[in-house]
């Protein structure tokens, strides 16, 4: 199943909020500097959101590993065999559809 752009975008924003808060927390734990933690978060939130969105859109083009749609294998507009055509015509005629 393909995803619409809107879904990729919303996923990017959600994930970014989660990831940025956790990164800021880690930076703060390691350095104890609130300003640095906020600065890293402010830069990362935008840069990685765009990267994530691009990454999602590229993966969306790759069919490998995706569940195929149940109709994917169908040969749409397949013609019937001539003898089946004739039988079908007869059935439809019998009910007045032709």
């Amino acid at each position: 199943m393909r995803e619409f752009r809107k879904r990729s975008l919303v996923k990017a924003i959600c994930w970014r909020a989660l990831a940025t808060f956790s990164t800021m927390a880690i930076v703060y734990i390691f350095t104890g500097k609130a300003a640095l933690s906020l600065g890293v978060g402010a830069v990362e939130v935008f840069v990685k959101m765009f990267l994530y969105y691009g990454h999602e859109r590229i993966w969306n083009l790759i069919a490998w590993g995706k569940l195929k749609h149940p109709l994917a294998h169908l040969d749409v507009n397949r013609e019937l065999e001539p003898e089946h055509m004739e039988e079908l015509r007869k059935r439809l005629e019998e009910l007045g559809y032709l």
């Binding site: 199943m1 569940l67 749609h69 149940p70 109709l71 169908l74 040969d75 749409v76 507009n77 397949r78 013609e79 019937l80 089946h84 055509m85 039988e87 079908l88 015509r89 007869k90 059935r91 439809l92 019998e94 009910l95 007045g96 559809y97 032709l98």
Partner: protein, 436 residues
């Protein structure tokens, strides 16, 4: 765990009655011919429903199973015409351009058992089991998965009645209808137990066959076959009652009737005359044939400006759309308007024939609109519109007694079916219920 998950899911059961009009169902329920149905619909919820445009089973059922307009699912009738050769072709299940709602339910892990669904031939894989209905040619290609075929063969499962024999032997048709319904009943019981389903559907198509050949016996109490025909309806009612009991016994509904749906795909009315629209076009100078006795629209002359496919689909022979098109695209709107106006005025013995004329834009919306007819005509009761190329007379009598109607199909459900429903609305209602 699977057991616990299974119990928490909602289930739905749909019983389709092909070609049963709203008014007739109410009458048969009131007259106690269908007492179980009367009890089910008695507390409200029965609605008159619009069939598809045109109102034939292939289009209506395709709209039901996809929730889509014909210009989305791509089925416009039992026949289509090649834009190169004008030869007729017969769209099959493989031509359905969008997934059914059974496929969509399968994507969320739900399973369906669908029995005798018209326009699903040849059967293909779906999440669950499928037995195709009309116009299924062989049982072998009508069953998915194949493991169910031996059981159906053992029960002598009949896809349909013998319509060729029906013309000469109406009593034989009634016997055939009884035995076909009996095998349908057995198949329903079999799949009910064998399939781990969330959605179950069975369609009775015998009602449509009965109406085509014996509508007079349905309507007239003095008809010699009236009692026998009412007996068939009582047997259908017993079958509906069995399905209802089974559904509730299995604890499928939290509230009584919830998830149970009854519907028809189009209505029916008595028939006075076949109206051969190609003969009318020929008589009025819009169409001509190369052959004296043409067998199909493939034999129209290059100067033909319009032709009709069953039942009332009018196609303009426009340049660029058809190989022998002679109507300039810029002239097409005026020609369409002219035809719509003149056909609206068609009459028989002073009585108007056409009740509605829909343009392509009014009737169809979707990516396949370009393949749709330019006009769809709906007739008044009694006048059956035909796209045949046979005969020079516009009006003809045949052995058929009934004809399809558009505005008086029915649906009964306790689910939130919209007011003034059309058949394509139901897939969304059922899916929403099962997903809730």
């Amino acid at each position: 765990m699977r057991f616990l998950r299974r119990r928490s899911r909602k289930r739905a059961c749909v019983v389709g009655l092909d070609g049963v009009p709203f008014g007739l169902l109410k009458t048969l329920a009131q007259r106690s011919v269908m007492p179980r149905t009367a009890a089910i619909i008695g507390e409200g919820g029965l609605k008159q429903m619009r069939a598809s445009l045109p109102p034939v089973s292939s289009v209506s059922w395709s709209s039901f199973m996809t929730g889509a307009n014909p210009a989305e699912h791509g089925i416009f009738g039992f026949t289509d015409v090649s834009s190169d050769t004008y030869q007729l072709r017969f769209p099959t299940f493989a031509d359905l351009a969008v997934p059914t709602f059974w496929d969509r339910l399968g994507e969320s892990g739900r399973r369906c058992a669908v029995i005798n669904q018209p326009s699903t031939y040849p059967a293909r894989s779906l999440p669950g089991a499928l037995v195709s209905g009309f116009v299924a040619l062989s049982l072998g290609k009508s069953v998915w998965p194949k493991e169910h075929l031996p059981a159906l063969e053992r029960m002598g499962y009949q896809i349909d009645v013998n319509t060729q024999k029906a013309r000469e032997d109406l009593d034989g048709l009634l016997d055939d209808l009884d035995s076909t319904l009996e095998t349908r009943r057995q198949a329903a019981a079999y799949f009910w137990e064998r399939e781990n389903w969330d959605y179950f559907q069975v369609v009775v198509t015998g009602t449509d066959r009965l109406h085509h050949f014996l509508w007079n016996a349905v309507e007239r109490e003095d008809d010699p076959r009236h009692e026998r025909v009412m007996g068939y309806y009582t047997a259908v009612d017993t079958f509906i009652g069995e399905m209802w009991d089974r559904f509730h016994k299995g604890g499928s509904a939290d509230k009584e009737g919830e998830g149970f749906v009854l519907l028809s795909d189009h209505g029916f009315a008595g028939m006075r005359k076949d109206v051969r629209l190609n003969a009318w076009l020929r008589e009025n100078g819009y169409l001509d044939y190369k052959a004296e006795e043409p067998t199909s629209v493939a034999e129209i002359t290059p100067g033909t400006r319009a032709f009709v496919l069953d039942p009332g689909r009018v196609y303009l022979n426009v340049k660029g759309r058809f190989a022998k098109g002679c109507v300039e695209p810029e002239e097409a709107p005026a020609l369409r308007e002219e035809l719509a106006g003149r056909m609206r005025e068609m009459s028989f013995e002073g009585e108007k024939i056409i009740s509605h004329v829909f343009t392509r834009e009014e009737a169809f919306r979707g990516p396949k609109s370009a393949l749709a007819p330019d006009l769809v005509l709906i007739s008044r009761n009694g006048f059956d519109l035909k796209g045949t190329t046979k005969g020079k007379e516009v009006f003809a009598s045949t052995h058929f007694q009934g004809m399809h109607t558009w505005g008086d199909a029915f649906v009964w459900s306790r689910l939130p079916v919209p007011d003034d429903p059309e058949i394509a609305n139901l897939a969304g209602v059922i899916m929403e219920y099962l997903s809730g």
